[in-house]
C-alpha cells in the first residue's frame, strides 16, 4: 500500500499512514477550513487498508488541538477502525494528551464511549 506522509501546518495535522512499517499517526493541530477536503484522502486510504488490515493495528492520536468539524471526522476515522475490529482484527487507539490538558483526555474518553475499540490513554509533558 502507498504511504501517506503529510507534514502539518498551522491548521492541519501531521499524518502518517504506513502499513508496511505499522505506523499510524495523526498529530499536531487540526482546524482546517474545509475538513472534508483535507480528510478525504485519509478516509479513502483507511477504506483501502480495511480490505487487508494487519492482525494488530496501533493508531496514535497525538493532537494538541482540533476544532469541532475535525472532531466529527475523527469519529468517522474511528468508526472505520471499529469495522476492522468487527472483522476480528485487533486495533488499539493510543490517545495521547498533554498532562495539563484535561479537555483532550475527555475528548478521548467520549470517543471511547461511542466506538467499540480499546483506548489507551498516554499522557505526555512538554
Amino acid at each position: 500500500m502507498e504511504v501517506i506522509n503529510i507534514t502539518g501546518t498551522d491548521d492541519t495535522p501531521n499524518v502518517i499512514l504506513d502499513k508496511e512499517n505499522g505506523k499510524f499517526e495523526i498529530s499536531g493541530r487540526s482546524l482546517p477550513e474545509d475538513v472534508n477536503m483535507f480528510y478525504e484522502p485519509i478516509l479513502e486510504w483507511i477504506d483501502g487498508y480495511a480490505e487487508a488490515p494487519a492482525d494488530k493495528t496501533e493508531f496514535h492520536f497525538k493532537l494538541e488541538y482540533f476544532n469541532t468539524a475535525s472532531s466529527k471526522v475523527i469519529l468517522d476515522i474511528l468508526l472505520k477502525f471499529e469495522e476492522i475490529v468487527e472483522n476480528d482484527n485487533a486495533v488499539v487507539i493510543k490517545w495521547h494528551y498533554h498532562e495539563e490538558e484535561e479537555d483532550m483526555l475527555e475528548a478521548g474518553e467520549e470517543y471511547a464511549d461511542i466506538v467499540e475499540i480499546p483506548f489507551d490513554y498516554v499522557s505526555y509533558t512538554d
Binding site: 469541532t68 468539524a69 466529527k72 479537555d103
Partner: protein, 190 residues
C-alpha cells in the same frame, strides 16, 4: 478646512478607542471580513500574547479553542446586510480580560428567519450541565453530518462544555430582514 476637521475627528476617535481599550483591558478588536487566514492570524496573536502574560496553558488553550469556534462560525454562517454582497462573511471580534476571566465577544449579521432556531439551540445548550453537554456532543457527532459549509453543528456545545460557562447572547434587529447577533463566551482564569 473640512478635511482637517474630519481628520481631527478621526484622531479623536482613535485616541478614545485606545483609551477605552486600555482601561477595559481589551486585547484585540476587529471588524471586517472573517476568513481562515484571519482566524489563523488572530489565534496566533492571542496565543503569543497569552504566552507572554504567563497565563496557564489550560486557560490559553481554552481561549484559543473558543476563538477558533467563534471565528469559524462567522466565516461559515454570517449573513450580510446588503443582499448583493453574499461572498464576504464579516463580523466583529473582541477579546478582553479582567481579574477573573477572559471574554471573547463576536458579532455578525444574521437573517431574521434564522434567529428562532439559533436562539432555541443556544437556550438548549445553556439548559444543560456538563454531563448533558457531553451527551449532546456525542449524539450530534454520531448523528450529524458535515454541512456544505463545513460545520458539524458542534461549536456552541463545545464552547459551553470547555468553558464551563453559560453562553451569553443577544439579537439586535437591524432591518426587517436581518439582525445583529452578539455572542459572549467566558473563560475563567483559574
Amino acid at each position: 478646512m473640512d478635511n482637517n476637521k474630519e481628520n481631527h475627528g478621526f484622531l479623536d476617535f482613535a485616541y478614545q478607542m485606545y483609551k477605552t481599550m486600555k482601561t477595559n483591558e481589551i486585547n484585540l478588536v476587529y471588524e471586517g471580513e472573517v476568513t481562515q487566514e484571519i482566524t489563523k492570524t488572530f489565534t496566533s496573536i492571542t496565543e503569543k500574547s497569552l504566552e507572554k502574560s504567563q497565563e496557564s496553558n489550560t486557560v490559553q488553550r481554552k481561549v484559543f479553542n473558543v476563538m477558533v469556534e467563534c471565528l469559524q462560525n462567522i466565516s461559515k454562517h454570517a449573513d450580510s446586510i446588503d443582499e448583493d454582497d453574499d461572498g464576504a462573511r464579516r463580523g466583529i471580534v473582541m477579546v478582553s480580560h479582567g481579574e477573573t476571566n477572559y471574554s471573547i465577544i463576536t458579532g455578525n449579521v444574521i437573517k431574521n428567519d434564522k434567529v428562532p432556531e439559533l436562539k432555541a439551540n443556544l437556550e438548549h445548550v445553556n439548559s444543560l450541565d456538563k454531563k448533558g453537554l457531553s451527551e449532546l456532543f456525542k449524539q450530534q457527532m454520531r448523528d450529524g453530518k458535515i454541512s456544505d459549509k463545513g460545520g458539524a453543528g458542534l461549536g456552541f456545545i463545545d464552547i459551553a462544555k470547555k468553558t464551563g460557562s453559560k453562553l451569553s447572547f443577544e439579537f439586535k434587529k437591524l432591518t426587517d430582514d436581518v439582525s445583529f447577533f452578539i455572542l459572549t463566551s467566558t473563560v475563567k482564569r483559574n
